[in-house]
Symmetry: C2
Subunit: 491 residues, 2 copies
């Protein structure tokens, strides 16, 4: 229960000031240690409007070298900003290793305001809560330190602060209608804040801070933050045990069982290609208007024909409404964050088609095989990826994943042909040959991946691509059928 | 004069198809060559609404591997998106070396629509035209290839296309009110398109393409693009001669002439700090509401006290309304673009304060001294930077640049003190000592920089920082005075 009252007895002012001064000196010393340990820290400051969250953050950051922190105030204000998955703005603001992000309100603010304002259903609330919990667990497992604060003041105190803001023409604009509405609906908000805290304490607990004395609140938060960081620095970064939720999986054949003989005649190909591209072009108009996001994921053997396949799929699309995201090895600022971060930030607004030419599945393929992450990490990734994709499909996205498949003989033929064609030689590198030598290892990894991540909501499709034309038609069919289904569901 | 009419005689369809096919094969071979040459290509497709720009781009990109291009459709639609300098969305979309960006409308669309709609004055138009010209020259000088296309159709033809779109419920939404208004005001638009083309042909000429036959237009643009790229690949990247516009400069003393003895007493410091921070805090509210952008640029010797100075300046600011941008060496995706790109993309919306902890002046200091760019490049940079800053101040920004200054003896003292204080040792690196050895070279570079870039609109201030407290007060005074002035001008 939130029950912080204005305290009758306040602490000795002088002692408090001295303590804050001491804590500030301690805080000042932490960033270089964070950097050395590569520890990323997230501080979420939630609480009542006009409870002094802004000032609190101001005080916290004043002790930190600006090179070490960000402040995120990314709560979507307008409906047009809300065209991404629920956790998108918060995941996009993840700090790099060794840095801090302060969230001035965040996922609690948004969920509670929308449920009180009846903008979302109970069902959506439940889904958001689940997204929050999985987000917080994933952060913990991937070595992030998260501190969650709620600044509590009572209804009277809030009213007093809001009135003070409104009485001065210089600050009146800072007490918004939403803030006043919150004061009116104080009890209802309190109930939902509590509910949210209760439901999101599984991986990281909430700290309710009495906000009636701003100096005391300041001291309390500083103390908490310093303690938390010191503990994390001492006991090292947390690396979670595998967590496996029961996702509804579709069973997949092993790659070796796939019959690669299907072909299509040139005549049928031309006819079908035209028909399906026309269909997709019309569908693109509809999903754009209905704001349905479509996410197409391509993985496959080198030279399997991913590029050509993608080109046929995007050809009928309006260039204003799609984006192809080619995924190479991560850049330094990407490596310094959760491995899914660079995919979160590459999502397009609802209504757009995003094609990933290679994907987050690199985690359980190349990163696994080349040892770019630990065994613990890639084993945990299957579940993390399933959760990520559930966030996408609950947002309303059509998520389709294609494994473009060929046999080693066909690959060798194509490699050789590329090698012998001057204008195609750039497409083939030493690395391709090295990867080819690891065919067996990749096959094991791909089989594991197909088995563990072919969920009902975001299924895999093995695309037989010894005949590239057959592969293109099959892909287009799957895409157009899935979009048809999504359009019908969203009438 | 725009005067493309529907042609009575159209070309032989079969020949045209064959030619397009041939051109497509040629186009297919270009991207790897672009990559090898590190040539970035920008294709701006402007033209009448419903003239087929979208389809044209669709056809162009269908021949290109998606890893090699972006499509930009970044024209700000809402007033809230227009809180950046005019060229911001276009500069932000610059391609990397070896890649192409297709702009589906851009700087011409925006300027012409706003002048016809009387949203901007003639004066703003002139400024925008100047920004466009300097942008295009800077791109050329920095090795970008830019192709500017205008797709022309007559009033009747436009009306026909718009009516066709509107008659089908599936496509009706694509003929917007703006499009219909353009058709009504056809002559006025034509006049302003022509004017814009005439005024922006200095560095890169416009190509008007007859859009009545879409196939012919397609062929014409493909041909143009291939020709342009081949020519650029043959003659190598352009590296411009120094272009020096006459900026109104403020004369600056040489560093050696600066008296570093000023100090402040602790008592005066405490009093002044409090007073000025209070003032800045109030000002921050006002600039936020009046949407005045403030850009504070910090450069200075290592250990001069930049960090502490910045902390005192941002302390009174609301964390929701400022951002500190620490600038380190560029990351690979930044190095692959115009050196100002990573500053363009770091600008905050109007009403926000952006503090750059080190800046674009790295070009004429460290890059000059360490040979990270050629002499030609850093010599050209003074003018390019002055132009960039003029774009900022014409957008309405307060731009202040601080050189935080100490003498070599003070630096040595501080270096030694850091070395001897365990918790501050991380602040001092081998590189700091190496830079110290190059003091004389840096002094020359700084003197040149102060002399050539202290413009009236974006002045430099030398901040005597042997006494750090004196330096902080002086900086705060300059900032609050400049903001006062800006607020008064924007009543």
């Amino acid at each position: 229960m939130l029950k912080n009252k204005k305290e009758t007895k306040t602490e000795d002012k002088k002692d408090l000031k001295a303590e804050i001064k001491k804590l500030r000196c301690e805080m000042d010393l932490l960033p270089p240690k964070l950097r050395e340990a590569g520890l990323p820290v997230m501080v979420l400051i939630e609480g009542w409007s006009a409870s002094g969250k802004g000032t609190l953050i101001k005080n916290l950051i004043s002790e930190i070298d600006p090179r070490f922190f960000y402040v995120s105030h990314g709560i979507p204000q307008r409906e047009s900003d809300r065209r991404y998955p629920f956790m998108y703005p918060y995941a996009s603001a993840l700090p790099e290793k060794g840095k801090l992000t302060f969230y001035e309100s965040g996922w609690m603010y948004e969920a509670v305001h929308k449920i009180v304002g009846r903008e979302i259903s109970e069902d959506t609330w439940d889904k958001w809560v689940r997204s929050v919990n999985q987000f917080e667990r994933q952060l913990r497992d991937n070595g992030y330190l998260l501190l969650k604060i709620f600044i509590d003041i009572d209804k009277k105190e809030q009213y007093k602060h809001l009135s003070a803001l409104r009485s001065d023409p210089e600050t009146a604009w800072r007490a918004t209608d939403t803030d006043l509405w919150q004061n009116e609906m104080y009890d209802c908000f309190a109930e939902n804040y509590e509910k949210f805290m209760k439901q999101t304490s599984e991986y990281e607990k909430w700290h309710v801070i009495n906000g009636h004395s701003r100096e005391q609140a300041n001291r309390d938060v500083l103390r908490l933050l310093i303690d938390k960081i010191n503990t994390a620095l001492e006991k090292g970064r947390y690396s979670g045990k595998p967590f496996d939720e029961d996702f509804p999986l579709v069973s997949m054949p092993k790659l070796s069982e796939v019959d690669l003989s299907p072909t299509i005649s040139d005549k049928d190909y031309d006819k079908e290609l035209k028909r399906l591209q026309n269909k997709l072009s019309i569908q693109h108009n509809i999903i754009y208007r209905k704001k349905i996001p479509v996410i197409l994921c391509y993985e496959g053997w080198d030279a399997a024909g991913k590029g050509g396949n993608i080109r046929r799929v995007v050809y009928p699309l309006d260039p204003r409404g799609f984006e192809v995201q080619p995924i190479a090895s991560p850049e330094p600022h990407e490596k310094a964050r959760h491995y899914l971060w660079r995919f979160w930030t590459r999502l397009q607004r609802s209504g757009h088609v995003t094609v990933f030419d290679r994907t987050w599945y690199g985690r359980v393929m190349v990163e696994r095989i080349e040892g770019f992450c630990t065994e613990k990490e890639w084993k945990r990734a299957y579940n993390e990826i399933n959760e990520f994709e559930r966030d996408l499909t609950e947002w309303g996205a059509v998520v389709l994943k294609f494994w473009i498949h060929i046999d080693p003989e066909t690959q060798l033929e194509r490699f050789t042909a590329r090698q012998n064609t001057p204008e195609k030689r750039w497409k083939i590198t030493e690395e391709d040959w090295r990867n080819r030598d690891k065919w067996a290892e990749y096959e094991t990894a791909v089989n594991d991946m197909l088995k563990k991540t072919c969920t009902k909501n975001a299924p895999w499709y093995i695309i037989e691509s010894n005949d590239k034309k057959y592969a293109r038609i099959k892909t287009l069919k799957i895409i157009t059928e899935a979009i048809d289904k999504a359009i019908k569901q969203k009438i």
